[in-house]
Point group: C2
Chain length 176, copies 2
Amino acid sequence: MEIITFRLGHRLPRDERITTHVCLVARTFGAGSIIYSGQKDHSLEKSVKTIVENWGGNFSIEHEPKPIKRLEKLKEAGFSLVHLSAYGEPIQDKIGEIRHLGRDIVIIVGGAKVPTEVYQLADYNIGVTSQPHSEVAALAIFLHEYAEGKELEKEFGDAKIRIIPQAKTKKVVHVK
Amino acid sequence: MEIITFRLGHRLPRDERITTHVCLVARTFGAGSIIYSGQKDHSLEKSVKTIVENWGGNFSIEHEPKPIKRLEKLKEAGFSLVHLSAYGEPIQDKIGEIRHLGRDIVIIVGGAKVPTEVYQLADYNIGVTSQPHSEVAALAIFLHEYAEGKELEKEFGDAKIRIIPQAKTKKVVHVK
């Protein structure tokens, strides 16, 4: 099953680091790619590509100037759209259903002021709690629940750098 | 059991939004307070206090200019120190043990360049994966695993604003 993350409304310089964290969380917790709308950000794209080159696995980033049209197309192509929003239905009530759809999914995370169309277009509006917190955390918890924790064991092939977990120190190996 | 979050090395303006997300995640996912070191940030403290006033519950924020001394004191007072770092031991191998300590805990999240002393002082160095991603996500996953998902049901007393979860729209009630 394919998992695409869709980050809406990237703003510069305000969202620089938050969107970077969104991208890295998407990669680490099992999404295959991220599409982002809002301002095109070469530096963001470069950072993500450098991480993938060094730390391995397949993960791609792409800018999309017309997010609503793209989401409509993805829906037509058979993807289920899951929009993470504090206004949505509790994740704990819906995750089982989403997990068993057996379909490719797009996980949408906002920026500021998500257009009403996104709420209407989404197959699911899902709240990781109904409290204000962080799209970074919401995405991590959603992917973690979706994969039932198995994403923690994910291996990233073709890495140049790898950490060997330690109790008290830091150990990094350079593979190539 | 008391849960304190400890954010090391806050830098202005670089960490403004990331530290805010760390604070909001700490509150939402069940910590009772946050202590942060690095630069004192009045605007951060005000934002957190405003969230608590509006959205309820008890959560406090405090600046600490001497983080190592404070961590030593907390350890002497009986807290277990859990440092989240990609270099640490896998969360999935250790969370059961930490959950059953039956002790108050301090969850430490870095900033840039965490001093070696923190790795030595910590009772546990825990990796939420060994991949580079986000202290916001690592904190959320740790708290979620620690509470076994029960934190998703947490109620925040004395709130002025509350969201009523909806499938397709937004519904907010103003309680007072």
